[in-house]
């Protein structure tokens, strides 16, 4: 209808209001890129549900901070949502390392952390009606604007994590691919695992405070799934996953602007679309390989330069 067409946001409006949208788009792109990269480890180590549980725990931490400030009278400095989010995420990470696998299985632990995190956030949310919108934003990723502190934290820690990742990439990759062989080869597997989990937990908590649990979980899994499906080397998979994460973060935000969708949902669906496209590409590649006998498999093997 003509009136709807007139009301639809335009590209010019996006440009005109760039100062308003710049920070959330940058934060979304950065979080998407870093979590997309880390997501390759999440997928290879079958930690997909751990990512989901940690994102929920981070959301619960934020809700708890609001609750403690409003109802328990905790000073604003002590009821810092980022600190509580980080604290609960680290606590959840420790819980997931629980050694008593005969008492409770890993799946059971994941379910427990996820349900306590999600249920706890919703429960607390009912007691802090004045912040209900913020709680919704944190859990489902409808945050439209981000604070300056969030911008600095997400970009700063993102850069730090990427430098650390690139520096120790070989160790992280070997320890993730084949735990036992890496240990036999003398790699400090326990330390590498702890470092990887720590950086993932910290970044999930920061990104959840800024963007919400839903898109953070989506960035941690979907770009990596797409990359792993179509790439034939880990180095390429890391690059593709990070790129898709950036595109899902920024593109999802822009898509939400034009189509007036919730931001987190828009970013999640765009990231999921990459998986669908990647699976289709993988299917085509498979058919081509079946139709055309692979001459490449008979070629002289040439390893990639590094992982």
């Amino acid at each position: 209808m003509p009136t709807e067409a007139l009301d639809a946001p335009t590209f010019q409006q996006l440009i005109d209001a760039w100062d308003l949208f710049r920070d959330p788009i940058i934060v979304s792109a950065c979080a998407g890129g870093v979590l997309g990269y880390l997501g390759v480890f999440v997928v290879l180590r079958r930690m997909v549900f751990a990512a989901m549980a940690l994102a929920q725990a981070a959301g619960c931490g934020v809700a708890l901070a609001f609750f403690l400030e409003i109802h328990a009278g905790l000073p604003k400095g002590l009821a810092n949502p980022r600190a509580w989010s980080l604290g609960l995420t680290l606590l959840a990470t420790l819980a997931l390392q629980w050694p008593g696998k005969k008492v409770i299985t890993r799946e059971g632990l994941l379910a427990l952390v996820y349900l306590v995190g999600g249920g706890g956030a919703l429960l607390i949310g009912t007691r802090i009606s004045q912040e209900a919108h913020d709680i919704q934003a944190i859990l489902f990723g409808t945050a439209v604007v981000v604070s300056e502190t969030d911008v600095h934290l997400v970009l700063g820690f993102g850069a730090l994590i990427m430098v650390w990742q690139l520096w120790w990439q070989r160790g992280f990759l070997f320890a993730s691919l084949d735990h036992e062989c890496a240990q036999v080869r003398g790699l400090p597997v326990a330390l590498l695992d702890a470092a990887l989990l720590l950086m993932f937990a910290v970044y999930v908590s920061l990104a959840t405070r800024a963007l919400g649990a839903l898109p953070v979980f989506a960035f941690s899994v979907l770009p990596a799934m797409a990359a792993v499906a179509v790439c034939s080397s880990p180095r390429l998979a890391f690059a593709v996953a990070a790129t898709l994460g950036v595109v899902a973060g920024a593109g999802g935000y822009v898509m939400a602007f034009f189509y007036q969708f919730p931001v987190g949902a828009s970013q999640t669906i765009l990231a999921a679309a990459f998986v669908v496209v990647a699976l289709a590409v993988r299917g085509v590649m498979f058919v081509v390989q079946q139709v055309l006998p692979a001459t490449s498999t008979e070629a002289q093997p040439q390893p990639a330069q590094g992982p």
Binding site: L44, Q169, L177, D178, E180, R185, P301, P303, A304
Partner: protein, 258 residues
């Protein structure tokens, strides 16, 4: 009665060993103390029934499990590699076989120098050739058959030219031809590189006749017998379990220590 019989001692340098080693879990030993010395170029076969403690012994020797008691001997600079019964690589890993083999060269990783030492890929190609993987090395790992994946893991273990190689039932899923080919690869490796090989199997016939040393492990009777294969076959512990019905002739494929 708990027994640990050691039959003879060689003279070449020890690459891996144990003194009064007790293996087990959570501080509780499951087998009697064991003394063994794996010497350069030796061919060891460890046999025993399913659940007899073979894998626990192997994992303790590899330092994947802490010893309950006793001492592990691993001279500094000795390179150890390992092929698991079932590889732990995620099936959808975005890697070709050749890249996984190249990863096997990774060693001496340190926090300050975490990058791979630049090398030529001649050793990777050599490992692929030795393990018979050249024709499928460029395939994605998830596009390979189970047997091909196992050969890639064998090539990965070979590529670092290890001093000692420990294999946990590497031929369990193979037919007799593939098993023979794998044993030939290991024999060639010992001949060319003087690598010591320790093969763990529940299939008594596998490589026992070609072995220099054998180790029979039995959790049920709490016995460990170590010595020349014939001595182990004739040992009271082994005889109690299997009698004279074991045929270790080459090509005889069907003797499982169930």
């Amino acid at each position: 009665m708990a027994t640990s019989e050691v039959v003879s001692v060689g003279a070449r340098p020890v690459v891996l060993g144990a003194r009064r080693l007790v293996v087990g879990y959570h501080g509780k030993g499951i087998l009697p103390p064991i003394d063994l010395e794996i010497r350069r170029g030796e061919n060891w076969v460890v046999v025993g029934r399913n659940g007899s403690g073979k894998s626990t012994l192997l994992k303790t020797l590899l330092r994947l499990l802490p010893p309950v008691d006793g001492e592990l001997i691993r001279p500094s600079g000795v390179e150890v590699s390992y092929v698991a019964q079932r590889h732990h690589v995620e099936p959808t890993v975005p890697m070709r076989g050749v890249d996984l083999v190249a990863m096997g060269r990774d060693q001496d990783w340190s926090f300050l120098n975490p990058f791979r030492t630049p090398d030529s890929y001649a050793d990777v190609l050599e490992a692929l050739r030795r393990a018979g993987c050249e024709s499928f090395a460029m395939k994605r790992f998830d596009a390979m058959s189970g047997g091909q994946q196992q050969k890639i893991m064998l090539a990965q273990a070979i590529v670092s030219k290890p001093d000692v190689m420990i294999l946990d039932e590497p031929t369990a899923a193979m037919d007799v031809v593939a098993e023979r080919a794998t044993l030939d690869v290991l024999g060639q490796l010992r001949q060319d590189l003087d690598t010591a090989v320790m093969l763990v199997t529940h299939r008594v016939s596998t490589g026992l006749r070609q072995a220099d040393r054998a180790c029979y492990v039995d959790l049920e009777t709490q016995s460990i017998v170590i010595g020349a294969p014939d001595d182990v076959l004739r040992s009271p512990s082994f005889q109690r379990q299997f009698g004279d019905h074991v045929n270790c002739d080459p090509g005889h494929e069907d003797h499982h220590a169930h």
